[in-house]
Subunit: 504 residues, 2 copies
């Protein structure tokens, strides 16, 4: 637009100069044309100045409109209800932490942390997840026993893929159980929670993959991976949900210097997945069963599956040896929930979504913060609501479902002019009685406009004041959907509105 | 602690050296003592290393414990209910904005903005309030008409005074009405909202001071303040709630170069406060009534008070010519709510709190973001919940009120050993039926410990499984408060729990 306007101005200017040359004798005309030019120049300059200002949110972030917020609230409500059903308390922590609090917790991903500018004082960073702040909170307050949830935004300077729900600012909904307990009981509850939330949100079919860091480490050991390469080989394995085994093997051998034989041995294991049968089979595996770590992990995995059987949820759980998960701090069981496919026929372009929840056991993290290194065993799960939200938003769009963004029960309207004072008096009574009510901010709004506002925003009732109603001590109550109107005595109005809107 | 340990070690070391000298002949003993010294040194070194790590939240910030969160939720619920009662939608914006979005909006306070480190890409700052992001949102989405609330944290590198509820990270609860409407109707609603929220929260007596930027500017003009000094004299006036007039006058004359006569004229006006009477009086004031801006402002103030009379809230509203408010962007009516004093006898040390809400009209802010400068008139109010929260927290502490931090309805317990599986089966049924339930994460917890857990956390019911109950197809349901126990048939348990906890 600006470029076009500039080009047009240049053409116009050339035309003016041409005309000026033709008509040198007329000073008034020259003055007029010059004024015109100056005005044009001012306009252009003004526009250019304005256009320098970029009107946007930062890269990888977004606003939530009222409609999006209504969908977001539904998701939060389902998740919070589940966390409360499991007896969790709630905490909150600051959006930024001392930089050193985050240092050394995220391995390679540390480069994605947002730092604050040094403006004097402490060096600060935006939180990268809710787990490290939770561990810092436990150590700082010497808490050895808590079950809490925390729903808040976290920050990662990642490459955003916003259509797929990957943002630089995004919500995490975390549930964690900290404390020294008998094995796998809290771990099983975390998986039950993921199962409840994903079922409740009706996102279609899902699968929860489960593994254990000790089984992975034991497997690497018996396959001949040197200790020093455990972490890097682990992060290669982590890619198996996106790329085929051959590629992962090439990375292990070519880039990371693993022997092809070791890689092949890993390849045999990581393609295994199943349930209790597979666990039993691996407990008999001549190599794995000789490894102390793997044996511990497999023993706990068996116990976990027994508990999950009691919960009746093993149908959606898969013990999967290829599940690795990136973060450094996991020490035991790890899990990740993935949506299998969109099952909603209304959606024309199903969004490709992967992991929607993940977590695991991290028994060493709190000890990293404790001055005496005292450990507090922890296990938890994080629900990634952005992807879930993307799916639900797209589903709402496709279904043409009308989402109300307010809860207003009644519009206080007037049938004639000069009734603003009466409207204000009535709405004030309604507000004081706890009724959700609105008026149009006009002195003399047309009745039609007032009714139209109700249609647009989904307000179910209109309380209409008019000269006659005021004389009679009544208010005309109109049902927006049926257009039925009845006169209600003013002293009964609040009760009547409550009754009519209680089933909404 | 570390210093004490070091001193003790030095003393111990001297003692060892003394003994070594006495006993030079015994090499075994020397070796032992040296080993002891080395161990002590290692311990000290280790502890020193640990102590370098500071375990804290950043300056001016805090965590919220579950108990604090429970109080915070009460405050939020009251505020959100009020905003919804007035038909507001809700939006959300990112925690940071492009730096340039915030530039030039806050006058002198801009130095308090937190900037993010330049890590490549856009220059970003943490939001300083919710008003500027709201205006950016309106301009960016070309919205000319909305009533919305927004509750979120904002950031200011101010001097924290945390005992008085002043933090660097704090919540704002904003309600704003944007759009071209008839005068003072939305403005009056904002004041009604402040009145409703402060009444609802039962914080004690309060007063809402009201003024208008146009009345202030008109007053400065007729008092002989040069145009160029309006803003700086305005910020002197703003201090009148904290320091006496003489001091403010000295600042105006001494520091800001105003003539003593002009200052005295201002002094006469800013000591005035009242209601409709004062407005009528000033409308007759020979000087003010000649000033176009002041006349406009006083006319609107009269209209506002008429509407507030209809709302029945003028008793707590004071037209106060000393109210100035710092921010640059206000263009019309401004207001600020202050708590007058603590009226709760339970509180031994009443916290000194000042302003708990503030706001006003800002008709020019959206236009600063619009490429074509299109204006969207706005008026709004911001509730400062940190101070409110401080008061309520202190009140809860003093009253010894026991606040539950979970909503658990029932603990699934066992009377004998080896019943973990039965507990897991039962709790799974309860969760699936939407009952809020917990178990202890122990294989064989003692019944006493299970009952004690209920007492501590306020769980009202215990569902006890035992050998006999399993055989009989019943569950023993215990009321924690009355200690009454009855056997309930398993198939009726969910209904019974729902019934018993529905009145809670």
């Amino acid at each position: 637009m600006a470029a076009e306007a500039a080009a047009a101005a240049v053409r116009e200017q050339a035309e003016v100069v041409r005309r000026l040359k033709q008509d040198e004798a007329d000073p008034e005309r020259i003055a007029k044309e010059v004024a015109k030019l100056l005005e044009m120049k001012a306009q252009l300059g003004g526009e250019e100045g304005k256009h320098k200002f970029v009107l946007k949110t930062p890269k990888g972030t977004r606003d939530y409109s009222p409609k999006q917020m209504a969908i977001r609230e539904r998701v939060f409500t389902a998740i919070i209800n589940c966390f409360k059903r499991h007896g969790a308390e709630v905490i909150d922590t600051p959006v930024f932490e001392l930089k050193e609090t985050l240092t050394g917790k995220y391995g390679e991903d540390s480069k994605l942390i947002y730092d604050l500018k040094d403006q004097g004082g402490e060096l600060l960073s935006l939180r990268y997840d809710l787990t490290v702040p939770f561990a810092r909170y436990l150590a700082m307050n010497k808490i050895t026993n808590i079950k809490r949830y925390h729903i808040a935004k976290v920050y990662r300077r990642d490459n955003p893929a916003m259509t797929r729900g990957r943002y630089r600012e995004f919500y995490q909904c975390d549930f964690d159980i900290a404390g020294q307990f008998d094995p796998m009981i809290p771990d099983a509850e975390c998986l039950k929670i993921v199962h409840e939330i994903l079922s409740d949100l009706q996102l279609g079919d899902f699968l929860i993959k489960v593994n254990d860091r000790r089984i992975l480490d034991g497997m690497f050991a018996v396959c001949g991976v040197p200790d020093s390469k455990f972490r890097t080989i682990c992060s290669s394995v982590d890619k198996l949900d996106k790329v085929p085994w051959e590629e992962v093997k090439n990375e292990m051998v070519g880039e990371k210097g693993l022997s092809p034989e070791a890689a092949d041995r890993i390849g045999e294991y990581v393609q295994l997945h199943g349930g209790l049968d597979l666990i039993e089979q691996l407990l008999q595996d001549p190599k794995l069963s000789q490894n102390k770590l793997a044996k511990e992990g497999l023993g706990d995995m068996k116990l976990l599956f027994e508990y999950l059987t009691l919960f009746g949820i093993t149908g959606k759980i898969s013990f999967d040896l290829s599940l690795a998960r990136g973060l450094d701090y996991y020490t035991g069981v790890i899990y990740e929930a993935v949506l299998l496919q969109q099952q909603n026929d209304h959606v024309e372009d199903p969004v490709s979504v992967g992991s929607v929840a993940g977590g695991g056991r991290y028994d060493g993290l709190v000890g990293m913060f404790d001055p005496k290194g005292r450990k507090v065993p922890c296990v938890g799960v994080s629900i990634g609501i952005e992807r879930i939200f993307s799916i639900l938003e797209q589903r709402v769009e496709a279904s043409e479902e009308k989402i109300r963004t307010t809860e207003t029960q009644v519009l206080v309207a007037s049938a004639q002019k000069k009734l603003l004072e009466e409207r204000l008096k009535l709405i004030s009574e309604l507000w004081d009685a706890g009724i959700k009510a609105e008026i149009l901010y006009k002195k003399n709004p047309k009745l039609l406009n007032q009714l139209q506002y109700c249609e647009e925003t989904g307000i179910p009732l209109v309380a209409i004041v008019g000269e006659q109603e005021l004389k009679d001590g009544v208010v005309k109550l109109r049902d927006v959907a049926t257009r039925e109107e009845v006169n209600i005595r003013r002293e009964n109005l609040i009760e009547e509105i409550r009754m009519r809107t209680s089933q909404l």
